[in-house]
């Protein structure tokens, strides 16, 4: 842990944190990374829209204190990706698990853990559990029976007080889009963090914080207040708390940078746009849009419609011939019904990709069913 949270401008081509990695940025998504020199010019591992370019970065010169190492093997990853891909019926040609596996990039992304001393006074409504006795009476066969029931209730009482407490490791965003990222990756087991070591980095890319500790503190303060509320309710011996108000000063702030692991990959949709897939290597969850191909759907629908057209043409021809051979009238009727039936089924591949892609507007995280 360190109380030094000064930031400096790191020039381009300058290795940092003893990792032989240099700052580089994406001109499309504006994210900044520390990458190996050999990866310079490669595609951005977050948006997959533009190549990374060497650029200066504003960051803390001190290396991160903690890191959660990657915890997923290739077999598990393959299984996760296979499950992700297999659920889509009419896929774009590029949406294949092999493509996703080949393009997989390990990334460490940052967050802050802050320690602080809280000194102030508070007030809240504290809730105490209690039980009351209630009654139910039954009348049957000319007799009354009585049964007692116990109900749980909460009694709310005001409490005020003072506190001088130390809060450790308050999780705090280091990225402006931290909430979005957490929605994509899901939670991490922060208690599995290890001291930062170069050997754990491997070929991974490190994403650089865009919130300095000073900028991140307003986001940490509500977390500290929430902890204070829980602590005050506990101090009052209450099971519940509400309407907590804290008037306090926060001293002795100590910032720790923690790196969290994730894997990204992408596939090209039918318009040729990259669709990013994100994997949390800890929870084995995968996030990203699983788009179907509307063009392929229409093509399949067209083929089915053409078959239906042929069948209807045969039916029409048979109908004409039935003037000469009356038995062909039944054939004409049967084939025309068959043609109409086949024609109707053409709607399914035409409509299904549209319907499916609508559901992918807000993609959900998917947890893999993996053998570990």
């Amino acid at each position: 842990m360190s109380d030094n949270h000064e930031t400096i401008i790191v020039e381009e081509n300058q290795a940092l944190w003893g990792t032989a990695r240099q700052p580089a940025g994406c001109p499309h998504c504006k994210r900044v990374f520390l990458i190996k020199e050999s990866a310079m010019g490669g595609i951005c591992p977050l948006c997959y829209q533009a190549p990374l370019e060497s650029q200066p970065a504003l960051l803390r010169p001190k290396e991160p204190e903690l890191l959660i190492p990657f915890n997923i093997n290739k077999k598990q990853l393959q299984s996760l990706v296979d499950q992700f891909v297999s659920g889509v019926w009419i896929k774009p040609p590029d949406f294949q698990s092999d493509n996703l596996m080949q393009r997989m990039t390990p990334i460490y992304w940052p967050m802050w853990l802050v320690d602080c001393d809280v000194d102030g006074h508070w007030q809240m409504e504290t809730g105490f559990d209690y039980q009351v006795e209630s009654t139910k009476e039954y009348f049957s066969g000319g007799e009354w029976r009585s049964s007692k029931q116990i109900e749980d209730r909460i009694r709310w009482e005001p409490r005020v007080g003072q506190m001088q407490s130390h809060f450790a490791n308050i999780p705090t965003p280091a990225l402006e889009n931290h909430q979005t990222r957490v929605r994509q990756t899901g939670p991490y087991p922060l208690n599995q963090a290890e001291p930062f070591a170069n050997r754990n980095l491997g070929h991974s890319v490190i994403e650089v914080p865009d919130l300095t500790p000073d900028n991140a503190w307003p986001l940490a303060q509500p977390q500290a207040a929430k902890r204070a509320a829980d602590l005050c309710a506990e101090a009052a011996g209450a099971g519940h708390g509400r309407n907590f108000a804290l008037n306090a000063v926060y001293n002795g702030k100590n910032w720790t940078q923690l790196l969290l692991p994730m894997l990204t990959s992408y596939y090209l949709d039918e318009q040729g746009n990259p669709q990013v897939v994100i994997i949390n290597s800890e929870s084995k969850s995968i996030f990203g849009p699983r788009l179907a191909s509307q063009k392929r759907g229409l093509r399949i629908a067209g083929i089915i419609a053409a078959i239906a057209g042929v069948l209807l043409a045969i039916a029409l021809f048979s109908l004409i011939l039935s003037a000469l051979v009356p038995a062909l009238r039944q054939v004409a009727a049967f084939v025309s019904v068959l043609g109409i039936g086949v024609g109707v089924t053409a709607i399914i591949p035409a409509v299904w990709p549209w319907q499916w892609n609508r559901q992918q507007g807000k993609p959900a995280r998917m947890h893999g069913n993996l053998d570990t």
Binding site: E133, P158, A236
Partner: protein
Amino acid sequence: MMTEKHNSSGLWSPPENFIQVNSQVPGVIVYAPKPPETDKDDIKSYTCPNCGANIAYDVSAGGVACEYCGYVAPVPSMTIGKAADEFEFTLETVSQSKQGWGIERQVLHCDSCGGELSIAPGNLTTTCPFCASNQVNVTTSMEETLRPRYLVPFKISREDATQLAADWLGKGWFRPKELNPNAVLRRFNGIYLPFWTFDTAIDARWKAQVGYEKTVRHYNAAQKRWETRKKIDWRWEDGDVYFNVDDLLITGSSSRQINHNYLEKIKPYNMGELVAYEPDYLAGWQAQAYQTTLTEAWEDAKRIIREQAKIACHQDIPTHHVRNFSMSADFADESWRYILLPVYLATYRFENEPYQLILNGQTGAVAGQKPVAWWKVWLVIAALLSPGMILGFVGVTLTLLADAGAGAIALGVIAFVIGLILSMLLYQKITRLEGKRG
């Protein structure tokens, strides 16, 4: 929620009515609202600050007054009415209630003369035998909530109570001529009696076979004609009934001390006149603590409420043909209060027989035992039976003489039976009024 408070040096301090309580976390100090004063050792003596005489609550003055020097101090309390706090049936309260008072006798120290007084359990007031000062004590309950928190003050003065009772005694044809109400009613004792009030919401669900009458035509082969008769169609039906019970009063006095039937008769009390308990109201008056515990009273209340629910369910059924009736009554939001209500009690003697009389100290309603001139009752009974007997006698005579008295005998029997029924009803009413027999 609360106003932050800073002292002159700018340091934070808790609100005035808050005290520090135990904290279960080091580094966190907790303040909670100060619990209400229990007055555990605050036994009040009532002597006049001007002349030192004994003082008491005066109904007409509406405060504690001295009858010698005219000193009056208004009672520092306001009418709360039905907004008075109600308590839930928490498991702790129910458990404590079952333990009762738990104290056999208490020794009070008289602040006025320094004497040591012994009071029986259940008495909230006493008069010092040494200096005659009035003492009020409500500390005999172990539990704060089981102490009287509200009361309805006396509205009827002793003089008015005596007059009302005298008027009540003076009414009626069966009153003995020798009874002089003003002479026998020498002293009325004003006493605050303990009552429990109960509130609850009832959701009653019933199920029964309900019969609907219908007229059916059938052919009577013997009579060779069409006839109609009534038939009942039975159907299974069910229904829900919701109602609220508001301030159901159950006495906290033992039936050995007070006749509960008479207490029922002097109801209702106007709960809109409930005031917060102040010992001043009890000064110079007797007051009794509950003998029937909360749980015992609640059992009585539940018996009344479930019968009300049963009646409500039957009223919900559209016909009077009902069979296989069953129901359940769900009680919700049950709450209770422990209050004191004003009552005047008088026991007087007439012809060496004691008679009890009870009067509502708020409304003046009277109930109790009344002496009866039994010779008047027997006279009326004789008058009721005599027409039948006379007719019977006449009928028998005519039968013997002219063999033509059958009609008179029949009329006589009918008149006698009617007279007998009326006589029995009269006898029952009079014995209830007198409260001595049966």
